[in-house]
Symmetry: C2
DNA sequence: CCCCGGTCTTCCACTGAGTGGAAGTTTAGT
DNA sequence: ACTAAACTTCCACTCAGTGGAAGACCGGGG
């Protein structure tokens, strides 16, 4: 090779995955050189790999020539274990119908919440979360609901890190946060007010199976209508409960 | 190499993709040797690739040790162009609320329909389609709605092939099928009765933008309640229309 | 007009990552 | 205990992948 295999030798597969990994919810479309930068691979290598991925429709081009995840990957992604979503969706559905608000389902992944399903109507509040998206745990309702039911050691290692502060209302002080989590455990649900986005607030309940929170259901409403959240807590808890019930039954079988 | 590079030399990337491509909606979980068989790659190669993919959580193991698409790929898939889904979802939502039936959205991909979104309640009929799933066009409502608005040459090449016959009610005779398509064009929607699955029937309407069917909206109900479909056609057409309207507006911008 | 900063594409000589047949190991079924 | 199938490991060979560099392309501003 001219430049030749200088690198100690990463496997090709890991390079392919590095290219794909360059995409995330904050960067859904990238130029060739963006990918090279973000993956740390030489441009010529990225160029070749992208070409091959494009051929298979794992990546596709936007109208302005940038790259984005292709239909083929979406299709593949749909095959991922969907037990939780499948069984929860009808209940989210029902919750949406009774409340008319943004409804979503999230699980914990690492130190973040991962949104796995969402039901929303037309006049929904502009909402940050997106199916497949991630957010930190402490400023979100679902995040708090999940965090409150994690073991002690997990919570303290979460709090030990520097916590992001997306709005002035975000609670980042460890002492106050753990008192809040205790309250969430006690009352069975979490409330947030403009802690993630100015203009919206949320209520969330954990889906508890055998004492563990396997997921959380959240409602997001405009902060003008924050007082209405109280009214919505009951159906929210009911939905979380139903999902937990179905989940437990599905796992017994 | 012991056996060594006998093959003329496919790129590693293509092998990775061949492994992923072994998964489809009919085969969401596969054993190592299933993958080898389906991808045509030697077992030892598959073994290594799968190991690397697993490490990255592109694949994961089921409880019984078989492989399935991992969370990471699902997440990635969520980044795929979702304009259509995003804009259609609220209307599907609304259609579900007014009808209470299985609602889904499909597009044409090649000679098949690809289901891209679905809203369903609890007491839904067991339904074959699944988000990300594919079905042939002629036995499904959405398929007929889409096919009816394809250009002449496409329809004839579709009809020229040997058509599957999943139930005794499936219409496969080219003459009769093209007469049906003409009727669909004339009345603006398609009806099917147990053509794909015994026990369920459907109504579907194309989402027409500039004379082209960019997608189709479908309703599936139990065949016992087939007569009720008539009543549901009106909201169905309305939903398809709204989606078409939003779509056209989004594309103008 | 030309030059500059950026992005994308092509080239090519070298070499180690990938290869796959075969042998060994574990698992399941009879 | 025997058989068959699925899985894992091994290893010598070699070609697919490599990446630096040079070239093409595209605006935009002097």
């Amino acid at each position: 090779m001219a430049g030749g295999a200088r690198e100690p030798g990463r496997s090709v597969t890991s390079k392919v995955l590095a290219v794909l990994g360059a995409f995330d919810s904050a960067h859904p479309q990238l130029s060739l050189s963006d990918i090279a930068r973000r993956s740390g691979l030489p441009l010529s290598t990225v160029h070749r790999l992208v070409g091959q991925l494009e051929e298979w429709q794992a990546l596709s081009r936007t109208s302005d020539g940038r790259l984005r995840v292709g239909m083929r990957l979406w299709e593949l992604g749909q095959l991922a274990p969907a037990r939780l979503q499948d069984l929860a969706h009808p209940w989210l559905q029902e919750l949406f119908v009774t409340t008319g608000e943004n409804v979503h389902l999230a699980v914990r992944d690492g130190m973040e919440v991962l949104y796995v399903d969402k039901v929303h109507g037309r006049r929904a509040v502009p909402i940050v979360s997106r199916t497949g998206g991630r957010l930190p745990m402490h400023p979100t309702g679902v995040g708090k609901a999940l965090l409150a039911h994690e073991p002690e050691w997990f919570v303290s290692s979460y709090l030990a890190r520097r916590l992001e502060r997306p709005t002035p209302h975000t609670v980042t002080e460890p002492g106050r946060l753990s008192r809040e989590l205790a309250a969430v455990r006690a009352q069975g649900y979490a409330l947030t007010f403009e802690e993630m986005t100015l203009g919206s607030c949320s209520a969330a309940a954990p889906v508890l199976v055998g004492g563990r929170a396997v997921a959380a259901v959240g409602l997001v409403v405009s902060s003008r209508r924050a007082r209405e959240l109280k009214r919505l807590v009951e159906p929210l808890l009911a939905a979380a409960d139903r999902i937990a019930h179905d989940y437990a039954r599905a796992h017994a079988a």
